[in-house]
Each structure stands twice: as structure tokens, then as C-alpha cells.
């Protein structure tokens, strides 16, 4: 493994959880507005990041995040204490975002993927074409929201594979097959980039 590609958890402090999840839920059930503020302060960045990753549009991601807070408030009674609050919240984000995407239906498909690679990069971009982040970003954008979701939930949201399956409401096997597909796809993008 290359030294400049250290895993995020080897270089960053893990996301801490200073606020008690159950306390947040109880306060929302009791109608405490400050619970929504505390919830957002605690998880807002992660919720927005996931919404943005799925929708690829800041305005839609804002709507999705706001609707997630509203849904969490209204359905706080449905939260089961046997799972993590963040997994439950991300499930709401996922459901809301997919609905928004279905309405929009403009995520990048295979044709769009081809167009990414056919774009003529600027001289500055050509100089950075070997940059790992650039091809990963390109590759991520060319994945479907369902595949992006799996990567996001594992590597940024730090969810277990079982939690990912719960958030996406799919079997564990589907999560694994999506991971394999994403890996093969990104490997293919990397290979094409290196050939240029």
C-alpha cells in the first residue's frame, strides 16, 4: 500500500458522539425544538454529505436534508433503540433522496459516463489527469446513486455492512455485490485513465 494513500481512519480522529442518541429521540418525541438543533449539530454534516452524494445537486441535497429532519421529528416514535440513530437517519435521507432522484431522473447513466471520458480536459486538468482523486471522482460520478450510496455509507458514514443493508433496505448480498461492481467499475476507470 502506498504511503500517500493512507486510510482515513489512520490519519483522522473518528467521529465522536457526544450527544446521547436516545436522549435526542426522547426530546424530539416530547416536542423539544432544541433537539432538532442538537441533532443537526451532531449529524447534519453527515446527512447533508450523504444527500449530496446521492443527488449530486446542492439545492436538492438541502431539501432532502431538511425533509429528513422533518420526517425524523414526525416519526421519532418509530425509532427502535436496537439500531444506531445515524443508521435510521441515513435511511430516511436515502428514501427521501431516491424519491427526489426518481422525480428528477437525471443521474448519470452509461452514456453520460462515456461523455465524461470524452470531455476534452483543459491544459491544467491534463497536467492533473493522473491525480488519483480526479479519476476516483470521475468514477464515482459515473456510478449510479445506489452504488455511490454503498461506498458513501461504508467509507464516510462508517456503517457496517449490515447497517448499510438496513439503510438501503436490501439484502446483505446485494450490498456486497454492489461493492464488487463499484470496485470493478472504478478499476476499469483507472485502467482507461492510465492508458491515455
Amino acid at each position: 500500500m502506498r504511503a500517500d494513500l493512507a486510510l482515513p481512519w489512520q490519519t483522522q480522529a473518528n467521529m465522536t458522539q457526544p450527544v446521547d442518541d436516545l436522549d435526542l429521540i426522547r426530546r424530539m418525541q416530547a416536542g423539544d425544538d432544541d433537539a432538532v438543533r442538537d441533532l443537526y449539530a451532531q449529524y447534519g454534516q453527515r446527512l447533508y454529505a450523504y444527500a449530496l452524494r446521492l443527488t449530486d445537486d446542492p439545492a436538492t441535497a438541502e431539501d432532502v436534508t431538511q425533509n429528513t429532519l422533518v420526517t425524523a421529528w414526525r416519526t421519532a416514535r418509530n425509532f427502535r433503540a436496537d439500531g444506531r440513530l445515524i443508521a435510521w437517519l441515513l435511511g430516511i435521507v436515502h428514501h427521501t433522496a431516491m424519491k427526489a432522484i426518481r422525480n428528477r431522473t437525471n443521474y448519470l447513466d452509461d452514456v453520460a459516463e462515456e461523455s465524461i471520458h470524452e470531455d476534452q480536459p483543459s491544459p491544467e486538468e491534463q497536467a492533473q489527469v493522473k491525480d488519483e482523486r480526479r479519476w476516483v471522482r470521475q468514477g464515482m460520478q459515473s456510478l449510479s446513486p445506489e452504488h455511490r450510496a454503498v461506498l458513501e455509507l461504508i467509507f464516510y458514514q462508517e456503517l457496517t455492512l449490515n447497517e448499510v443493508a438496513q439503510v438501503l433496505d436490501v439484502p446483505l448480498g446485494t450490498v456486497k455485490s454492489r461493492l464488487s461492481y463499484a470496485r470493478d467499475h472504478l478499476r476499469g476507470v483507472l485502467t482507461r485513465t492510465e492508458e491515455r
Binding site: 500500500m1 502506498r2 494513500l5 493512507a6 486510510l7 482515513p8 481512519w9 483522522q12 473518528n14 425544538d33 432538532v36 438543533r37 443537526y40 447534519g44 454534516q45 453527515r46 446527512l47 447533508y48 454529505a49 449530496l52 452524494r53 446542492p58 438541502e62 436534508t65 431538511q66 425533509n67 429532519l69 422533518v70 421529528w73 414526525r74 488519483e132 482523486r133 476516483v136 471522482r137 464515482m140 461506498l151 458513501e152 461504508i154 467509507f155 464516510y156 462508517e158 457496517t160 455492512l161 456486497k176 461493492l179 464488487s180 463499484a182 470496485r183 472504478l186 478499476r187 483507472l190
Partner: protein, 289 residues
């Protein structure tokens, strides 16, 4: 657990201490896993970098709380409806309320004096039909221009006015019917109400529709004539008209069929509500000229 899954869990920091040590031992000797780990590390690094680079908007909690505390759709609809009814109550002629109450009182007094229920059965539908012909249109609406220029659909305005006037007419008729109990036993109350309710509904609906299409005077003339025709005694006019007697009998039965009168009455109301668009178009044309 296969190496692929372990590799992902390792890259995502989901292995415990002993699993991690064991996997790192495997990793040091497996070229394939090292290559895959490089790929996963790049992905994890990009995801973390890009997600951390875009801060979540700070205003979202305020807008979310605003949405949380916004009144429900049902409550908003109820508020809009009461506001519309209040507004239309102010715009309608005051004479409507006093006039129909005075007429109802007079006919109740007549019914009590002659001790005949039929007096009320005859005049209650006519009073109701008379009032609904005065509720809509440039002919009678002092604020017609305002009504047509308002963003509220004309049919909603008509429905609001019809609701107000009909509720008032039913209230007056109920009061008059209770008054009839001075000369009748209380058990007759239900039958008395049924006696005027269905004809009142149909005649009002007919008069309303006609008033929208051909004006108030014509509407009153036609609907009152149709209503009064059932009380004709053809044999008293002359034997020439006797052949019409079976037809007249069927016509009387029509006015005594509550189910049919209600169905036709509601159909005419729907048609009248639809007709409001036509009225507005005509007004716009007249303004344009």
C-alpha cells in the same frame, strides 16, 4: 469471511484489534489484496475529502422547524374555507337575510292561522329558490369586479355563497317547521322536514343555474312556474285539458320523489358551479369592449 469482505472492513476500520492484526499479516504477503487495498484507500480518501469539503448549510434547522410547526394541510384548508365564507358574507346583500326571514315568518303565521301545513310546504322552496338567484353575477353582486378579478376561482366563490344561503334557508325552514308544532304533534317533525327539504334543494339548484344562464328574473319566473304547475287542477280549467291529467300526475310524483330530487339537485349545482367560468369570460369580454 472472505478476504474481499475483510479488506473492505479493514479499509473502513471495522475490524477489531485481533482481526486487524491477523489481516495485516495476510496483507503483507498477498499482492492482490494490496492492489485492492490501494483502490479502496483511494476511494475512501476521496469520499472523506469531498464530503468534509462541503459544509452543511447552517440555516436548515430553522427552515426544518418552520416546516415542522407549519399548520397541516387540513388545517390550512379549513382556515382558507372559513376566511372565504367570512369574506363572502360581507360581500352579499344584507336584504337577503332580512327579506327571507321576514317572508318565512309571514308564511309560518299564515300556515298557523289557516292550520294548513301545505302553506309552508309551498312557500319554503320558493323562498329558498328566490334567495339563491340573488347570490352571484354582475347583476346583483356589488363587488362583481372584485370577485372576478380575485385569484380565487369563481366556482369556489359561488359555492361559498351557496353554502351560506342554503344553510341560512335550512335554518329558517327548520325554525318555521318547529313553529308548526304548535298545531301538530312532535312526532310529525321528521315528515314535515322531508316535505320541503328535497323540493327546496332541487328548486334552488334549478333557479341558481337558470339565474347564471338567463338572469334572475327569468330564472324566478321559470322555476316558480314549474313549481306551481304541480298544484294545477286541470279539470277546473276546462275539459279540453283533461287529457293532460295523467301527465300532471306523473309530474306531481316527480316533486314527491326525494331521492330523484336530491340527485338532480346536486347535478344541477355541479353544472351551475361549472357555469361560473362562462360568466367570468363574459365579464372579461365586456370589460375589454
Amino acid at each position: 469471511m472472505n478476504h474481499e469482505e475483510q479488506l473492505i472492513r479493514y479499509a473502513a476500520n471495522q475490524l477489531n484489534e485481533s482481526e486487524r492484526t491477523e489481516f495485516e499479516n495476510h496483507l503483507s504477503g498477498c499482492v492482490d489484496c494490496q492492489a485492492d487495498l490501494t483502490l479502496w484507500a483511494s476511494i475512501a480518501s476521496e469520499i472523506n475529502a469531498s464530503d468534509s469539503a462541503v459544509p452543511a448549510p447552517v440555516h436548515l434547522t430553522d427552515s426544518a422547524l418552520e416546516a415542522i410547526h407549519a399548520p397541516s394541510k387540513l388545517m390550512r384548508a379549513f382556515r382558507n374555507m372559513t376566511q372565504l365564507l367570512r369574506m363572502q358574507l360581507l360581500l352579499m346583500h344584507n336584504e337577503l337575510w332580512f327579506g327571507s326571514a321576514a317572508l318565512m315568518f309571514i308564511f309560518l303565521a299564515m300556515a298557523l292561522l289557516v292550520a294548513r301545513v301545505e302553506v309552508l310546504h309551498f312557500f319554503v322552496p320558493m323562498i329558498a329558490a328566490g334567495t339563491v338567484t340573488l347570490i352571484y353575477g354582475s347583476e346583483h353582486d356589488p363587488a362583481a369586479e372584485l370577485t372576478f378579478a380575485t385569484p380565487i376561482s369563481p366556482w369556489k366563490i359561488l359555492l361559498a355563497r351557496l353554502t351560506l344561503v342554503s344553510a341560512y334557508n335550512v335554518f329558517l325552514a327548520l325554525c318555521a317547521t318547529v313553529g308548526l308544532l304548535l298545531i301538530l304533534p312532535p312526532q310529525a317533525l321528521g315528515e314535515l322536514i322531508l316535505g320541503w327539504l328535497a323540493p327546496m334543494t332541487f328548486l334552488s339548484a334549478l333557479a341558481l343555474l337558470l339565474s347564471l344562464w338567463i338572469g334572475t328574473s327569468n330564472a324566478l319566473f321559470i322555476s316558480y312556474t314549474l313549481w306551481a304547475a304541480q298544484y294545477l287542477a286541470l279539470t277546473s280549467i276546462g275539459e279540453w285539458f283533461a287529457f293532460l291529467t295523467p301527465w300532471l300526475e306523473s309530474y306531481r310524483q316527480f316533486w314527491n320523489d326525494p331521492a330523484l330530487l336530491f340527485i338532480l339537485g346536486f347535478a344541477l349545482i355541479v353544472f351551475a358551479l361549472w357555469s361560473t367560468g362562462r360568466e367570468q369570460v363574459q365579464w372579461r369580454r365586456s370589460v375589454a369592449i
